[in-house]
């Protein structure tokens, strides 16, 4: 270890903040991401919460992590492993060290590596670094003490002072990356607008952390800058996670359609933040009803849809199971409805805070009878906005429930997002009944797209009844006629089949790839990164990443059959591969499956894909 640090210019860097759940690692990570984004880097973040609310303080199960990937150019994932690890206590070091690159620098708070702390994390000796055999650069700073010193005159109590430890660490990291602290200061001022004292103290501590690094040149070989030279989209940006982007997409679609936004929901990790977000925006007329259960959440949304709102219901996998009967009602009544599934680990209660893609077949098939529902899967935190918007548009224009799938990884992960302009988004035109139709209209009469018309209660001349029983294909009266049922079954199916979705794009070596990687939903970033890495290694590889699952894009079969080898990579046991096999004749791809509740590791995929490539 050298005490003389030089400045190294990097293309990209991964920083991981970790500490006890109460240590404020998410905030520190968030601020650091925003600072980086503000200077023009691309960012991609991944908060890695512990499963328990609050495991015993200092325990191995109570560690909370936040990883951010910062790039001069576009970054697609939060990174497999980190270049800098902040470990606020021994438990963090022990559980998070595995995320370090061999060259990573580690920042620890020596004040928290005392005997009692070490014991809580099951260390046997008093030297954690040695015990773990760590050879990396370690910045061992007495953070707690320095924070205490720094705020001695603040009038804050000890507990409040200790809450600022994260800001010291942040300051140190900012120094390490030669970051300007102004942005952080502004963010804290806004966050604590009502408590200027707290903001002040936090800012003071950040500065102290920065200065500490600067003054001691700490114990690292070099500090870094991440260039901002990449070709940049110009405009106004913000940092947004997937759940917030989803909520924003729903709001935007409602405004565009000129409809009231209604959310019927029941809290469930990791979807609850969408409810939280929407509940805030009453000034936009958003109505959120926290229902007694998921069934009521979906049922009330169906009532709201009938009543003329843009109706949504949000949940995670177990909630989809519960909602499935009501979703089916929306299918047969042909009412617009957006059902959000933020996937988590299953089966059953499973791994509530972890991410996987195991709800796909449930969303496609989890209802009695022939019950076709369009499915859209968002591919990144920011894409949640577009996907939510398109889900609303599809639901409203085709009078159908639509399932919008995201997952814990993109829901909690964030990225820089260029603020959209609503006028750039396509119009939303539900097939409303018109006054001229009064004489001839019938509830199940259909337009050219096969959609029935929407007659909203309160409109004179269009009273009608909808229901869960099979109905006559025109009048909507209850019908058990065998031919009618066969016809209605086909009409419902064809309506969905006919929905126009964009072709799937082939990225990379579209013309001459030896291997096509196929994926869907939230793994886009990782698959793209894997492709990039393989191409960088001289391989001919392409990626077809699906966002529209049902109906599949028109060019699906031709894309899938064009390449010699195809691997479908997904975080389940092969659900998307199965769906494609059902839909595309003679398609028997390679598969890459992992069900670990964790994001894919790009390096593992590259190894696996290369093996297939070389076969």
């Amino acid at each position: 270890m050298t005490k003389n640090a030089s400045v190294v210019d990097l293309d990209q860097v991964v920083v991981r903040f970790s500490g006890d759940s109460g240590d404020g690692m998410q905030l520190a990570g968030n601020i650091f991401s925003t600072i980086s984004a503000t200077v023009g880097n691309d960012i991609c973040t991944f908060p890695d919460y512990p499963a328990d609310i609050r495991a015993p303080q200092g325990s191995l199960t109570g560690v909370s992590g936040f990883q951010v990937h910062i790039g001069a150019d576009k970054v697609f994932t939060p990174g497999d492993k980190c270049d800098v690890l902040v470990a606020m206590n021994p438990a963090a070091l022990k559980t998070q060290y595995k995320f370090c690159k061999p060259t990573a620098a580690i920042i620890i708070d020596t004040d928290c590596f005392q005997e009692a702390d070490l014991k809580k994390a099951d260390f046997k000796t008093l030297n954690a670094i040695e015990e773990m055999g760590i050879k990396n650069d370690v910045i061992a700073a007495p953070i707690t003490q320095m924070v205490k010193d720094c705020l001695a005159d603040s009038g804050m109590d000890n507990k409040a002072i200790l809450k600022c430890r994260n800001m010291f660490a942040l300051g140190l990291v900012c120094w390490l990356f030669n970051r300007d602290l102004t942005v952080a200061a502004n963010m804290l001022k806004e966050k604590f607008a009502k408590k200027p004292g707290v903001a002040e103290s936090n800012i003071k501590v950040i500065q102290a952390g920065y200065d500490y690094g600067h003054n001691t040149h700490s114990s690292v070989s070099h500090t870094y800058t991440v260039d901002t030279k990449g070709v940049k989209d110009k405009g106004t940006f913000m940092d947004i996670n997937g759940n917030k982007a989803t909520a924003y997409g729903l709001i935007a679609a409602a405004e565009k359609a000129g409809l009231k936004l209604y959310l019927g929901s029941y809290p469930i990790t990791p979807a609850t933040d969408v409810l939280h977000e929407l509940a805030k925006h009453k000034s936009l007329g958003v109505t959120t009803v926290q229902c007694e259960d998921e069934i009521a959440g979906c049922a009330s949304a169906i009532g709201a849809s009938f009543a003329g709102a843009l109706a949504c219901t949000s949940t995670s996998g177990p909630g989809i199971s519960l909602k499935s009967e009501a979703m089916n009602l929306a299918v047969i009544m042909e009412l617009p409805l957006v059902v959000l599934d933020v996937q988590r680990g299953g089966p059953a209660t499973g791994l509530p805070t972890k991410s996987e893609q195991t709800d796909l077949l449930q969303c496609l098939f989890g209802r009695n009878g022939e019950s076709p529902i369009p499915v859209i899967t968002a591919t990144s935190p920011t894409d949640c906005f577009d996907s939510a918007y398109m889900a609303c548009k599809m639901a409203l224009e085709h009078m159908t429930p639509v399932v919008l799938m995201t997952d814990a990884f993109i829901a909690n992960g964030s990225a820089a997002w260029k603020l959209p302009k609503l006028e750039d988004y396509p119009a939303i035109n539900p097939p409303y009944v018109t006054p001229e139709m009064k004489e001839t209209w019938a509830p199940y009469q259909r337009n050219a797209e096969g959609s029935r018309y929407w007659a909203i209660p309160g409109t004179e001349g269009f009273t009608h009844i909808l229901g869960g029983l099979e109905k006559d294909n025109k009048t909507g009266d209850i019908s058990t006629n065998p031919e009618n049922h066969d016809l209605m079954t086909h009409l419902r199916q064809e309506k969905i089949n006919k929905i126009q979705v964009p072709d799937v794009e082939v990225m990379g070596d579209a013309d001459n790839a030896e291997l096509l990687i196929v994926g869907f939903g939230g793994t886009f970033g990782h698959l793209h990164a894997a492709m990039d890495e393989m191409r960088a290694a001289g391989k001919k590889v392409a990626l077809a990443h699906f966002k529209y699952i049902n109906p599949l894009p028109k060019n699906t079969a031709s894309v899938l059959k064009k390449y010699k080898k195809v691997v479908v990579a997904e975080q389940n046991l092969g659900q998307f591969a199965g769906w494609l096999r059902m839909k595309v004749d003679n398609f028997a791809p390679y598969q890459f499956n992992e069900v670990k509740g964790q994001p894919f590791a790009v390096s593992e995929m590259v190894t696996a894909f290369t093996e297939i490539y070389n076969k």
């Binding site: 023009g40 106004t236 940006f237 000034s283 936009l284 009532g303 009938f306 209660p457």
Partner: protein, 334 residues
């Protein structure tokens, strides 16, 4: 005067068994709606599944015959999203209190402004005769060939247990009584539970026998009216008085008891103790209470949602999507 007649609310040919209590109720409901005078196109009738839940098919209003047990939840969304609609929610005892029990209690607790009709025939009609949560203990049915071993819910009691503010009861065959109750339910702002004693001629014939005919009601029922003393009997010869925390039947004129000594019905009383006692009265010792038993004003959920939106609109500075975006920390890339 209303511009509508019952005919304006009628549609199609009801398919219930001849003699089914649902026929009678439907006719009364349509009359009541005409008298209330809200347009059919401003009215939504929402039911679950069951014989009784077929009702919306025979109404010339907007309607939904949905899935089993979810009518109250669906109606909740309908009312909250579009408070201008008058919402009637129709369920059977199975639909409303078995599979739909949770939505029933939560709709009452939240006090959604809608009329919740419970057609209580104490049986599952549509599925051909299984006991329901209102079937009496020992009831023999296809699914309880040796008699049930559980007590039934008493709808008023459950409604009150869920903090319900309106409860009324009518007999399906009693048109004036039903119409009065429907009008009161509509007049009440908030969740209005109306228990309709309805006879299933096929699977539970006679379950409400004591009060199903006009003569029966004269003998075995008491029509409660707010502000009126509690008098009943074929010759108005009986009355009700308080006894401890309970009630007793007295004969007017006997033991010097006069009308003045009788309890006076207070449907508006916030405390529901007496109302519950009245609602739970049963023969042969007590008359069955009909009419509006509880009718207490309270803030409704849907009004409060609207008010809160208005309130927040006034306080917050962003009112459209572009303004919302600008409430975030943003940065410029030039």
């Amino acid at each position: 005067m209303s511009e509508y007649t019952a005919k304006d609310f009628k549609k199609g040919q009801p398919r219930w068994c001849p003699g089914c209590g649902d026929h009678f109720f439907l006719a009364s409901l349509q009359k009541a709606m005409a008298e209330i005078g809200i347009a059919p196109y401003d009215t939504a009738v929402i039911s679950g599944i069951g014989c009784s839940s077929r009702l919306p098919h025979y109404m010339a209003t907007y309607g939904m015959n949905t899935i089993h047990g979810r009518a109250a939840a669906i109606a909740t969304g309908c009312k909250v999203a579009n408070p201008n609609l008058t919402v009637w929610q129709v369920s059977g005892d199975g639909d409303g209190l078995a599979i739909g029990g949770n939505h029933f209690i939560h709709a009452n607790r939240r006090n959604i402004d809608m009329n919740m009709i419970l057609l209580n025939n104490r049986i599952y009609g549509l599925t051909k005769g299984q006991y329901s949560p209102t079937s009496p203990r020992g009831f023999v049915s296809k699914s309880s060939p040796y008699g049930t071993v559980e007590d039934p819910f008493r709808p008023a009691e459950l409604c009150f247990g869920a903090r319900g503010h309106f409860f009324a009861r009518a007999v399906a065959t009693d048109a004036p009584g039903t119409i009065e109750v429907m009008k009161a339910a509509q007049a009440h702002r908030g969740a209005s539970v109306c228990e309709i004693l309805q006879n299933c001629v096929i699977f539970n014939e006679g379950t409400h026998e004591s009060v199903y005919s006009a003569e029966g009601r004269k003998k075995n029922a008491i029509y409660l009216q707010h502000g009126k003393p509690m008098i009943f009997g074929e010759n108005n010869e009986f009355g009700l008085m308080q006894e401890g925390f309970g009630l007793k039947v007295v004969k007017i004129g006997e033991n010097g008891i006069t009308e003045k000594d009788l309890l006076v019905h207070d449907a508006h009383c916030e405390d529901n103790t007496l109302q519950l006692k009245l609602a739970l009265m049963e023969g042969p010792d007590f008359p069955v209470a009909l009419g509006v038993i509880r009718d207490v004003e309270a803030p409704t959920y849907n009004d409060a949602v609207e008010a809160q939106i208005e309130d927040v609109k006034g306080k917050k500075k962003y009112h459209n999507f572009q303004e919302l975006l600008m409430t975030n920390d943003t940065w410029e890339v030039k």
